[in-house]
Amino acid sequence: MADLSVKMAGVPFKNPIIPASGTFGFGSEYTDYYPVSVLGGMSLKGTTLHQRAGNPPPRIAETPAGMLNSVGLQNPGIDAFLAHELPLIANEDTVKIANVAGSTIEDCEEIAKKLEGTAIDMIELNISCPNVKQGGVAFGVDPKMAGAVTRAVRKNTTKPLMVKLSPNVTDITEIARAVEAEGADAVSLINTLLGMRIDINTRRPILKNNVGGMSGPAVFPIALRMVWQVANAVKIPVSGMGGVSTWKDAVEMMMAGATTVQIGAALFQNPMAPVEIIEGMNAWLDEQGIQSVSEIIGSVRPW
């Protein structure tokens, strides 16, 4: 049994595997399958200051080895989250990550303040949701805006702060450096890539929102490249995600420079994916005689 524990932004994780925000609800939907305490951590559904209804359905479309979603950050708002959702998982022995989304800097500050003193272990500031019209994505594609919102949240929280980056940019390292400079303790990437599908019979986009965020195995090579670039551009740790569905993918992500690995769309095909990835990774480390998973982080040797 290899040592699977890693430390990210000062937070100890019993293993590097974390269900990704938006794919794991508020942490109680998969308890029929396994206790969340087997997970390194869990990133909860993106939460805004006020309740959000989300986009009209259909909100999902299938693509080759991937999917599009246009949920649009449906959530009950931070107060309802703190009152009704967090208590259900507060005592779970896993790292609880709040995914924070705001359409203004003030919203983000406000949410951060409300999270102070709660059971939340870490904030993941989502500046990259492609599915909401105002704000959100605008923060993620401009280094100045990304820096500004990071600075604002940093001032209002004592919790470790991770910033979640958008892949829909020309140079993701620029954004990563901007948020690092403003006090982010970690970055997570990638959020979804903007995509579209059309129903040729109705001549309508399949998604009612016309476009949506692409994720799943199809995006893995893009995510891996970005994780590698960002890990080489910043000193803070990286939480890697995008298309990870097997333990081999997770090992690639870590070799590219990720300290933790998040699992999103793969859950829909196989709810056991996070557990199978933890087990598979462990078996591989043992087979390779590697004592601690942290040895493989960033271990890829470029040509």
Binding site: G25, K45, P57, R59, A65, M67, P271, M272, E279
Partner: protein, 257 residues
Amino acid sequence: MLQNEKLEKYLILKKEMLAKSCVRLTIRCPEIAKKASAGQFAHVRANGFMLRRPISISEIDKEAGTIRLVFEVRGKGTAVIAELNAGDTVDMLAPLGNGFTLEKGKKVVLLGGGIGTPPMLEIAKFYGADATVITGFRSASAVILQDDFKKTGANVVLCTDDGTAGEHGFVTAPLARILEEGNVDLVCACGPNGMLKGVVSLAKEHGVSCEVSLEERMGCGVGACLVCACKSVKNGEEYYARVCKDGPVFNAEEVTL
């Protein structure tokens, strides 16, 4: 250490063609059968595809430890599932979602439109002679399950849009007649949106409680991803409920079709 019977692959005992490109699978899955109730669904893996396909549970045999799924080949995923044969295994998550109200003594009308018909069968078995089953199909060639419904002891009415079998017309015509006669406690329906709208408005008109099974594109199937939204009302406020977890069966009052 971490095992869950929901995730095993289940043996297909029997495969039947009920109509052109309409398949019935009988699947051995004792633990699922034990828990399942009429109106719940299975989330079925289609090999080579990213997303699972939701299919209603049509019948449950708790003693034999089997369930039955009836589905139509619509696109590529259902085509792949239709290639499975007896002896193969199927990867499914089940039972998921909420079922229909089952309360002995109630008089019910069950309505199925097209491929919305199969889930009505398990309810019909429960209510037997207390149920009237009205099913509607495009045409005679699409008609399925009539003998199965008759065996339940229910009163069975068949309609086709083109009149090639049973009554000519939609299921709403016989429903209206039966509601006129009175003595109905509950209406349960599954089928295309247009049909559901008609059914719901008739039930409302007659002050009869009504449950509908809805369809929406799904991701997780377990309530975690919020993609399967349907417009609902709670305490007078509109919000998006999850078809997979809050449904697929809803009280007609709760949802906006």
